[in-house]
């Protein structure tokens, strides 16, 4: 059979890593990476962090510049979106009319910010953060003294709030839920995060719905259902993301909270794989429960794994512990594993290095670990804790709680 090459739709983290891995695995055919943005593949994590708040105008944190694309013989088609997959002819059609044939196709289409539906005349003026160009548009308006309203107390909202404070803005964060970081972050850490934001000067409106948002001169006014009113010059909504599945849906692939893939990241079409934020997959670490992750490491690891499986070398199931991290001022927070289903939490106080929380199932198995502290010393402990969670072992709670007991020693005992 002739090889028509490997095609990757989506030039973000998962897509770029997959392209690199295909070559690293010794694949010698054509590799085409299709991205709708007019940038080289770049890293998204800095968009809400350094790139919003550093004094110097940012440039994308490029993963694959031209030199590397050339060296790896990866053809990048940027600024051109894939518009249709012709599965019977094995062809991807682009918005420009161009047609790209494939032998195996990887969909790494990511996710899009969820749009806020709200009363008033300002909904078109809200900013969302996903792409480099979004970050530039927000940054331009984040001038010292500007009044910034952030809607949503998730990672994006909180990191954006921290950046705005760093830029000297006056920041209010609005969260409709009962607390910030409701999704996937334990209460103990949410409290630590909220305290650090309050200390830095962020005002919070928590547990209250937005009634309407209207223009007000050059700025806006956000009215909450409790009658309070927030005047602002810039509004950023970070209320979650929706997997980008249009292409997959239109071509009849199975969809289930994202593009449905099996444990090998294969879609319902054996010649099409999916990786990263756009796909849902069974996670063997948690009884093959189907999950979808919006996480950087997951995008990297799935991109890499999908490449290996596309080549059919030694297909391996994807079985990684979900891992999230966020930077808030000089602190980093991390969550490894899924804590829902945990019946108890053990705290380990690392003193100046922060705190770790071990989340245990009813039968005493370690389901997940979370924590927060200054990046250096904390990260080392957190990484060891994560390795313990990967083993899902039953460990004496007293040992987990005692900072004098080294985690590395506990880990060795399990080997």
């Amino acid at each position: 059979m002739t090889d028509n090459g490997m095609v990757i739709v989506g030039a973000g983290e998962a897509g770029a890593r997959a392209a690199v891995e295909l070559r690293a695995q010794g694949y010698d055919g054509t590799i085409t990476l299709i991205g709708d943005e007019r940038h080289f593949p770049y890293e998204r994590p800095p968009l809400s962090k350094q790139q919003l708040c550093e004094a110097e105008p940012p440039t994308p944190a490029v993963i694959l510049a031209q030199e590397k694309l050339d060296a790896l013989r990866i053809r990048l088609l940027s600024g051109d979106a894939a518009s249709r997959i012709d599965r019977s002819r094995h062809i991807v059609q682009l918005a420009s009319g161009r047609e790209v044939p494939y032998s195996k196709l990887l969909l790494a289409t990511g996710a899009n910010p969820r749009r806020l539906t709200v009363q008033g005349d300002a909904s078109e003026e809200l900013h969302y953060l996903r792409k480099f160009d979004d970050a530039i548009a927000i940054r331009d308006k984040m001038k010292p003294g500007a009044r910034v309203a952030v809607i949503g107390g998730g990672f994006i909202g909180l990191e954006t709030a921290a950046s705005a404070i760093t830029r000297g803005c006056d920041v209010t964060l609005i969260e409709v839920g009962p607390r910030i970081l409701m999704r996937g972050v334990p209460q103990q850490i949410a409290e630590m995060v909220e305290a650090s934001h309050r200390k830095a000067g962020v005002s919070f409106a928590i547990g209250v719905m937005i009634e309407r948002i209207d223009r007000d001169g050059e700025g806006f006014v956000v009215k909450l259902v409790d009658g309070s009113v927030i005047g602002c010059d810039l509004i950023i909504a970070g209320i979650g993301a929706v997997p980008e599945t249009t292409l997959a849906e239109d071509s009849g692939l199975a969809i289930e909270n994202g593009i449905q893939v099996d444990s090998h990241l294969m879609t319902s079409d054996p010649d099409i794989y999916a990786a990263g934020d756009c796909c849902s997959f069974p996670n063997p670490m948690y009884s093959n429960r189907r999950i979808r992750l919006e996480a950087w490491r997951n995008a990297q690891d799935q991109g890499t794994q999908a490449a290996i499986n596309m080549l059919g070398i030694t297909p391996v199931p994807y079985a990684a512990l979900p891992w999230f991290w966020s930077d808030q001022y000089d602190q980093t927070l991390q969550v490894a594993g899924l804590a829902d289903g945990a019946s108890s939490t053990i705290e380990r106080d690392l003193d100046e290095a922060g705190k770790l929380f071990f989340h245990l199932a009813e039968d005493g198995r370690l389901l997940s670990v979370s924590g927060m502290g200054p990046t250096g010393a904390f990260s080392k402990e957190m990484r060891l804790a994560e390795m313990l969670a990967e083993k899902q072992a039953r460990i004496d709670a007293a040992l987990l709680a005692d900072p004098a007991v080294k985690l590395k020693a506990l880990l060795r005992e399990l080997d």
Binding site: R297, S379, K408
Partner: protein, 105 residues
Amino acid sequence: MTNPQWIEACEVDDVEEEDVIRFDHGDRTFAIYRTDKGEFYASDGYCTHEKFHLSNGLVMGSVIECPKHNGRFDIKTGAAKRTPVCVDLRTYPVKIENDKVFIQI
């Protein structure tokens, strides 16, 4: 460039097995490793991905993992082993004399 010189970095006992410490010399910074087999190695101090010091990282066997984003390098060769790092780490020759660790820079 001046010729490479042997610089005393630390005592053997300053580094635990399967661990790493930071060593600063002039305006340069290094990471000194001791593997699980007790061998010593040295590299530039900062991760090649973002400027973050590897001395806070975790040594596993003969691999160092950056504390910031979990990029990995082979301690012996400096080879990049795991995303997000893709640029190898510069390594330096090491010798042990009288329980002191010297690196050639």
